[in-house]
Amino acid sequence: MMTTVKKQNVMIPPYEAVGVICAQSIGEPGTQMTMRTFHYAGVAEHVPTGLPRLIEIVDAKKEPKKAIIDVHLKSAYAKSPTEAEKVAKELASIFVRDVARVEDDLETLTIEATFSEKDGKGQSVTFNMLKKALEPFCSEMKVSENKITLYPAKEKPKETKAGEKKEKKITAKYVRRLTQKIREAIVKGVRGISRAVVVKDEDGYFVRAGGFNIVGACLNPAVDVKRIYTNNIKEIERVYGIEAARKAIIKETRDVLEMQKLAVDIRHIMLIADAMTYSGTVKSIGRHGLSGEKVGVLGRAAFEETIKHLINASAFAEEEKLIGVTENIIVGQTVPVGTGKIRLVMKHRKKG
């Protein structure tokens, strides 16, 4: 049996609707994904993977449900687990409540913090460190053994309308609130980073922790600033800029799909990352991001918040240029993608 041998071209055909193919290639496996959560031992539990995580990435959330930061170390520190452990201890934030019992006394309007030797040792926190952490909250403190009695500092007087300053009294209510605040005060470590753990990879040891404070972590001299990574895309954008954010979107999306053993060509993931970042800021997929900024009124109205878009369009006398796919479907014209973009007229020759 003879068949014509026809070679395929590897190039993407011009006018191919790559956007739709990309959306389908990422959306379709969504139905096959599991919703199980992932466990980073000692760092964070119930880290979303699969579909929930994919939705999180596409939503460009300010803060992922469980932020993780991987702090790689300079080569001098990366070799030894003990050095890395030290860095981990320095990074993980310890709160007052972790090392001391804090009670308020509403009669005398004082707060008493009792240092726990045992907990302090475990977190390598000394009594002095605790003292230092408590200082900003009080006007005076009395120290006895492992107890600190605080006399709360007065609230900062608020500036009123007229510009005069009004002294505030220390009330029981204020003391209660301050006690809460003190419990959450940081004794040691970087704000926003919790539960650091040392992990080993082919490049040596690094610290994995909960949270995403890149700037805070970089202040530690042992940290290799160039190789710090967090799963918080918005934070990467804030600190390292849009190109880094684009790469982070690609990496995070790939990781999700790979973990589920779902094959998706890198080009699709790159396109979605580029679409989310081409404007210079990370924009979400959805009504508050890309879809909400589309040019066509009809396209936006057909997606979500129909009435809002129509009303605004008429109030500001907007024009619908009919350049999008939905817009043209709505008015019943050929869509401007694929073969619909090509205008070809064949000259009809009369026979004979």
């Binding site: 049996m1 041998v5 679409a275 109030a315 240029k321």
Partner: protein, 876 residues
């Protein structure tokens, strides 16, 4: 003569507001009567179904255009409101305009008067003309500028700012102290502490000059803010709100008509009260009632006001409800369109048709038609179709003068029509074998959910499709239905044939791997056929080769004139086929120059490189034929070999049973031991976990290991000859886990990846002791499906099963919405001929698609082709 179709192309649409003048000008009738039909059943003049607005009853003629029901497009009328009414949807816009203008001189406010010096400074820096043309630089920075829809949200934040600084502000033009303007949703506006009347609001808005309006983002020609306070309300034509006649002969009016009746009634009442000089309080009450009715006429789901209801208590569907949401006008009727020339029925498998065909029942083929242009070359064929009085028939003739004629029923009429048939006519004939069609199964999650198939008319009532095509459609035959469409233009047919045909879609655009490939029984068949000791007699070989269209027997390769299966399989392969891989069974498989030399074919061979490389090097047509022939010969080989399972195949021997029991007993002991350690607190806590978590973690580890160990026993006991094991091993169907669960034990059931722990406090059933932690009491199923589950085990299994069920339900909903958003955000992205990816407004998203302009479908196969990508980009 050639008919040239003049196609009108819509270039753009303009949105705007209607001024009261325009509303009155375009109005066909002023509506004054809050009623519809009189006692005789005739539309009342000046009523809501005034025949000037168009007609819905057959027999009547429209008084405006004289058209009948189908001809008259309908005409708007209007209601003159006695007092102006705020438009709910524009309340926010009105509020912002009031906030941004002075109540006394009506000029645009600046938050801080900009000193002249500073203006000059800005001009110098920006090198702008002396008088800043509608200067966003200056005013835009100080006043909440309502610019576009996208900015609306921002504006809200901006507008809130001045509220915080409580200092009294003054107009920077006339120095008047500015009142605080507040919007009480939905439609009430307060000026300081006083409620503003819509009349006052309207007067204020009308006094703002055009330039200031432009600053605020309005276009005074098309939209002036005072038009947002309604004085004339348009009444939509009757065909927009048709009444329905119930069986009882009673008329039931549309919700919109009901609402309009309310509006007119209150409007009249208000008018009467004003004329009678009623007290202000009563007038204001009625005014507010009118506001309510107009508000709900626009949107009956406005926050903070009770929805208007039908007599039955059902909330009315008013204008906003008609447009909104999934069942609204936009998504239901405008984005989703119904089509003709389509059919839907149940699908069933037919391995004997080609994978690019679809079996169409005759009853459907008789119904669907396709237009055929009558030419010199097919006129005889066309005549035959007209004359025919059974299945392949012409149904309509469209003459060159565009007149549509039904093909006659009698031979005489047909004869007449045949004689009149001229080249240039169009025939609509029933679909026939070889016609192209689009075949689709919902949900259409990806491109290959809709592919082009060639029609193959078959007896029966179901669509038939080759089972290898189920995977792209994600179809099965448990009652699934699919849709078929017949394209009505040559362009569409050609595009379908060359771009959408099944054989062009063998590789997925998602990852470039084969999605249409021999599966399940095909794999089993090929495996048995190409097995090392599979030998066929001459007769067998001949009959098998005949199936794949080979009529000349190759030379025998096994002693005694017999044929090896490998030789037969090699007949399918192109000479370019080469493969060297380790199979799932650990065997080496070698294909060299189109000859299978070593190993038995299994799923890895079929789905992997072999098929994909063939598609790229040999083309779609060849690969299609390969799959068709391979599956055909595989099924023949399988039925010759035989493959079945019985209960016996899932029964393990006494010995095996004993071993399995030993393993589970050991597990039970280990778990008990751990629990004891946990109770006595001698268990060592794992880092970052509580003691309980540590225990659970260890137990899960043990139970998983138990299942694996038992698995090994089962695998060994059932043996490699067991059909179930074979199928699992070669990747045809099923997994080892299935065999284990059926024959040995079902093992641990989980909910949220943890051992079961719900039900009663500290236990799953009252049957157990509270706080019990042993395997048996926490969801471990010792029984096999073969043996049957104990009642509590049955419950465990149901618990695990329920979670899976709930998860799928949630997942489909969530991923469906995600995909809708993805599609909406990315649908306008297109690769241009310079390989840039751009969106609808031509912004560049990528400079080169994917960085290398390769098609994801073929990207990994570029090495197989002698073309290099760079050349293509450069010379393109």
């Amino acid at each position: 003569m050639i008919m040239i179709e003049v196609k009108k192309v819509m270039d753009k649409l303009k949105f705007s507001l209607f001024s009261p003048d325009m509303i009155r000008k375009m109005s066909a009738a002023k509506i004054t009567v809050p009623d519809t039909y009189d006692d005789d059943g005739y539309p009342i003049d000046g009523g809501l179904v005034d025949t000037k607005l168009g007609v819905v009853d057959p027999g009547l003629r429209c008084k405006t255009c004289g058209g009948r029901v189908k001809e008259c497009p309908g005409h708007f009328g209007h209601i003159d409101l006695v007092r102006p009414i705020m438009h709910v949807e524009f309340a926010k816009h009105i509020y912002y305009v009031l906030k941004s203008t002075c109540p006394s001189c009506y000029k645009l406010l600046s938050r801080k008067p900009v000193p002249v010096k500073e203006i000059e400074a800005i001009e110098k820096i920006e090198e702008k003309p002396a008088v800043p043309a509608p200067g966003k630089e200056i005013i835009g920075s100080v006043v909440p500028v309502l610019e576009s829809t996208a900015a609306a949200a921002e504006v809200e934040i901006k507008a809130k700012k001045p509220k915080k600084e409580k200092s009294v502000r003054k107009c920077n033009h006339c120095g008047v102290e500015l009142p605080e303007i507040k919007l009480l949703k939905p439609t009430t506006i307060y000026k300081d502490k006083d409620m503003m009347l819509p009349t006052d609001i309207r007067d204020w808005l009308a006094s703002i000059n055009d330039n200031d309006l432009r600053e605020l983002g309005f276009d005074p020609v098309y939209s002036r803010p005072e038009w947002m306070v309604i004085t004339a309300l348009p009444v939509p034509p009757v065909n927009v709100r048709p009444s329905i006649t119930l069986e009882t002969g009673e008329r039931s009016e549309d919700d919109l008509t009901h609402k309009l009746v309310d509006i007119i009634r209150i409007n009249q009442k208000l008018d009467a009260n004003i004329n009678a000089g009623a007290p202000q309080l009563i007038i204001e009450d009625l005014w507010e009632l009118l506001q309510y009715h107009v508000t709900t006429y626009f949107d009956n789901e406005t926050a903070n006001i009770p929805p208007a209801r039908h007599r039955s208590g059902r909330p009315l569907k008013t204008l906003a409800q008609r447009l909104k949401g999934k069942e609204g006008r936009f998504r239901y009727n405008l984005s989703g369109k119904r089509v003709n020339f389509s059919a839907r029925t149940v699908i069933s498998p037919d391995p004997r048709i080609s994978l690019d065909q679809v079996g169409v029942p005759i009853s459907i083929a008789e119904e669907l038609t396709v237009p055929v242009h009558v030419t010199d070359w097919n006129i005889e064929f066309c005549k035959k179709l007209i004359l025919s009085d059974s299945y392949p028939q012409a149904v309509y003739i469209i003459r060159p003068d565009a007149k549509r004629i039904k093909v006659g029923d009698t031979p005489e009429m047909k004869k007449e029509q045949v004689e009149a048939l001229k080249v240039g006519s169009i025939l609509e004939r029933q679909i026939m074998d070889g016609d192209i069609s689009l075949f689709n199964r919902q949900p259409s999650l990806h491109r290959v959910s809709m592919m082009a198939h060639e029609v193959k008319v078959l007896p029966g009532k179901t669509f038939r499709l080759n089972p290898v095509t189920v995977s792209p459609y994600n179809a099965d035959f448990d009652g699934d239905e699919m849709n078929l469409h017949i394209m009505q233009t040559e362009e569409a047919q050609a595009e379908a044939r060359y771009l959408m045909k099944v054989d062009k879609q063998l590789l997925s655009p998602r990852h470039g791997h084969a999605i249409i490939k021999p599966q399940e029984d095909h794999v089993s068949g090929l495996y048995f056929m190409t097995h090392d000791d599979a030998v066929f007699t001459k007769e067998e070989a001949a009959s098998m080769l005949y199936l794949i269209g080979i009529t000349e027997l190759p030379a025998s390769d096994v002693a005694g004139g017999k044929y090896s299966g490998k030789l037969l399989f090699s007949q399918l392969l192109p000479p370019t086929a080469n493969l060297r891989t380790i199979s799932k069974l650990g065997q080496e498989i070698v294909i060299k120059n189109g000859k299978l030399l070593k190993g038995a074919v299994e799923s890895k061979v079929m789905e992997g490189e072999l098929l994909e490389n063939m598609f790229v090097t040999e083309g779609s047509e060849f690969t299609k034929n390969f799959i068709d022939r391979a599956t055909r010969i595989a099924l023949e080989a399988l039925s010759m070999h035989g493959l079945s399972v019985s209960l016996k195949d899932y029964t393990i021997s006494e010995n095996g049973m004993g071993k399995a029991r030993e393993i589970t007993n050991k597990m039970s002991r280990e778990v008990d031991n751990l629990v004891m350690q946990y109770r006595s607190r001698s268990l060592e806590r794992a880092p970052g976990m509580s003691l309980k978590e540590t225990l659970e973690g260890l137990i899960v580890e043990i139970t998983t290991k138990t299942r694996e160990d038992v698995g090994k026993v089962v695998e060994h006991d059932l043996g490699i000859e067991n059909p179930s094991i074979i199928m699992a091993k070669i990747g045809a169907r099923g997994s080892l886990l299935n065999a284990i669960q059926m024959s040995a034990l079902v093992a641990q059931q989980t909910v949220r990846s943890k051992r079961l722990a719900r039900g009663y406090k500290g236990r799953i059933l009252p049957y157990f002791k509270a706080g019990a932690l042993t395997a048996l009491e926490r969801g471990f199923v010792y029984s096999s499906f073969h043996k049957g589950l104990a009642p509590y085990e049955f419950l465990y299994h149901a618990m695990g099963g329920r979670e899976a069920l709930v998860n799928t339900a949630i997942r489909t909903a969530r991923s469906g919405y995600m995909q809708r958003r993805l599609i909406n955000a990315l649908q306008d992205l297109v690769v241009f001929d310079d390989m840039t990816v751009r969106n609808a407004d031509m912004s560049i998203i990528q400079f080169v698609y994917g960085g290398d302009a390769k098609d994801p479908m073929f990207a990994s196969k570029a090495a197989l082709l002698d073309v290099t990508k760079q050349d293509d980009i450069d010379t393109a």
